[in-house]
């Protein structure tokens, strides 16, 4: 199913402290974490994000700490997908493990402007910019990550491997 939402643009090297500050890591509840999303980056950004919106970032999104609370905060705030030029590696794994769609697309990262209306086809990686009448193609998601995503993350994957879930 296509994702349709408004784009919120952030810059390069957005770290996990900016996504969710260390002082809030005393809960694992995505909704509570989501209330403080991007608080130190731009205290008003959280208020502009509506469920189903898309975050558009620059290079190395999610650098820094291994806190899985970062993708959880994005999920809790209703962010439907992230489009970035590139991702930090621990964040990348954590997002897939929590069912957050990440697309790698330097072209969209450059071209999309804050507030643009985007439509994303998760299966093909096509990103349509309805505001500008443009389309961009994300790098294909590696087959293993696709498999993880289809199963719903690392936990169902492990359950299936251990024979706890029908394959």
């Amino acid at each position: 199913m296509a994702i349709r939402g408004r784009a919120h643009k952030v810059g390069d090297h957005i770290d996990t402290d900016l996504i969710i500050a260390g002082r809030y890591l005393v809960t694992t509840d995505p909704v509570k974490l989501g209330e403080h999303l991007f608080e130190d980056l731009d205290p008003e950004l959280r208020q502009r994000i509506r469920p189903g919106d898309v975050l558009v970032a620059g290079e190395n999104f999610g650098q820094g700490s291994s806190r899985e609370h970062a993708p959880l905060a994005l999920v809790g705030a209703g962010v439907a997908a992230v489009v970035a030029a590139s991702y930090a590696r621990i964040f990348y794994r954590n997002a897939f493990n929590n069912g957050l769609l990440l697309l790698e697309c330097p072209e969209a990262s450059r071209a999309v402007q804050d507030g643009d209306e985007l439509e994303i086809e998760p299966q093909t990686g096509e990103i349509r910019n309805l505001t500008r009448g443009e389309a961009y193609r994300a790098k294909p998601i590696p087959p293993f990550m696709q498999e993880l995503t289809q199963l719903g993350g690392i936990i169902p994957y492990v359950r299936r491997k251990l024979g706890l879930e029908a394959s």
């Binding site: 090297h13 900016l18 820094g64 291994s66 621990i90 492990v158």
Partner: protein
């Protein structure tokens, strides 16, 4: 074509004769751990998997170090969740208040990591342990839960970047300065998804403590792991500590590197990472005179005995500037005790520093020294991101322990020579 040390460890743990960068492999995990922030989420995910027990209780550790001793009710609940899980599963390697240290420092000194092993932790600075010639990497809580259930985890084999240090280290230039210099040169994503291998004769001039500061910060360049081949000093350090027999691993002479960087350290100076990126690296003399409100000596990067000795060398017979708060947090109970026995704690207290039980606290703006709007801190930690140590308007300079101690005395950033040149007021 041969393999690097990183490739060899991944190959042996995947049961394969050979791996290449880009290969996806599933590896056996020798040891894993989580802390009080990442454990509750890992426990939740582990319970979702639905197995009855962890794959091997002897290969699992939990360390309460971040918000411990608990700073409030919410953090106390996170610690309680972890304690209950440990009791339910009868896990032997649990470190609670009083016996806990900062996990990376503690678990290395307790002998849980050895050369040639594969170690994962739900904490990004797990790359710390590469100084022992192990493959060590940080993962999220879900990956940790998967490893805790199965004893295995998937990895993409990283390409290796090699950093070679030659020359003679000048006074006050430490392992921390070398790694900051590299991060300044290649950037916070200069080693993204790669292994950083550190080598060269200068490593032999460095104590084990200083070597750990280097591998500890590999993640700040985006790396999957930092690693050094285990020389005699490593083996001497590990032998009395290791809990299991181990087999050191070395790269092949014809191993292939994605890039090789050569450094002559002879003319290097102590450096700092200026706000608000670890890659914003300048010689301390370039920011000399910046006024500071707080100095912090501690963390998994620089809270070891050698760091405390360097700080004490600057602080002995001197006093912390009246406008500055100095926090000193030994990274483990063992280091705290050793600092006490060497008289270092006396030096810190005489200087007017606050000395605390081991905790990560101030490094993540959690407790024990949170910064107010506009405040400046010189910290021996590894991250100076916006808001990292408190208010988003606060600023953090990353440095070695001597530079932080000198700033505490001078009330401003200075080269340690500036302070030590002045006669001590004993």
């Amino acid at each position: 074509m041969g393999m690097t040390i990183t490739e060899k460890i991944l190959a042996s743990h995947a049961g394969l004769p050979k791996v290449e960068p880009g290969d996806l492999v599933e590896c056996r995990v020798d040891m894993l751990f989580a802390n009080d922030i990442t454990a509750p989420l890992a426990i939740q995910q582990f319970e979702r998997i639905g197995v009855d027990r962890v794959f091997d209780p002897d290969r699992v550790a939990f360390v309460l170090d971040h918000y411990s001793p608990s700073k409030d009710i919410a953090s106390a609940e996170q610690c309680r969740i972890t304690r209950e899980f440990v009791r339910k599963h009868g896990l032997p390697h649990f470190y609670d208040v009083g016996r806990a240290g900062i996990a990376h420092v503690l678990l290395a000194e307790e002998g849980f990591v050895a050369p040639g092993e594969l170690f994962v932790g739900a904490d990004s600075h797990t790359c710390n342990h590469g100084a022992l010639g192990a493959f060590a990497t940080g993962v999220g809580s879900s990956d940790l839960a998967a490893a805790m259930a199965t004893g295995r985890l998937w990895f993409r084999v990283p390409p290796t970047l090699r950093f070679v240090f030659r020359g003679t280290l000048p006074r006050w230039v430490t392992g921390k300065d070398l790694v900051l210099r590299i991060i300044g040169d290649i950037g916070v994503d200069g080693a993204r998804y790669a292994a950083m291998e550190f080598a060269g004769p200068v490593l032999q001039q460095l104590s084990m403590d200083e070597r750990f500061s280097i591998t500890n910060m590999a993640v700040e360049a985006g790396a999957k792991n930092g690693i050094m081949e285990p020389d005699e000093a490593v083996l001497d350090w590990v032998r009395p500590r290791a809990r299991r027999p181990f087999q050191p691993v070395y790269g092949d002479p014809d191993a292939s590197y994605a890039a090789v960087y050569e450094y002559d350290v002879t003319d290097m100076q102590p450096v700092v990472s200026a706000p608000s990126s670890p890659a914003n690296v300048v010689p301390v003399t370039e920011v000399s005179g910046v006024r500071v409100d707080q100095c912090f000596i501690g963390t998994c990067t620089n809270g070891r005995i050698e760091d405390l000795r360097q700080a004490a060398r600057v602080l002995a017979g001197r006093r912390v500037h009246p406008d500055v708060r100095l926090l000193v947090i030994p990274a483990s109970p063992r280091i705290y005790r050793q600092a006490l026995e060497e008289g270092l704690i006396q030096v810190f207290l005489d200087a007017g520093a606050a000395v605390s039980t081991p905790t990560c606290g101030p490094c993540i703006g959690g407790h024990m020294g949170v910064l107010a709007d506009g405040e400046v801190c010189v910290s021996t930690s590894s991250r100076n991101f916006i808001g990292r140590m408190g208010h988003r308007g606060s600023k953090v300079y990353l440095s070695n322990a001597a530079v932080a101690a000198a700033a505490a005395v001078a009330g401003k950033l200075v080269h340690p020579d500036e302070v030590v040149r002045e006669p001590a007021r004993v």
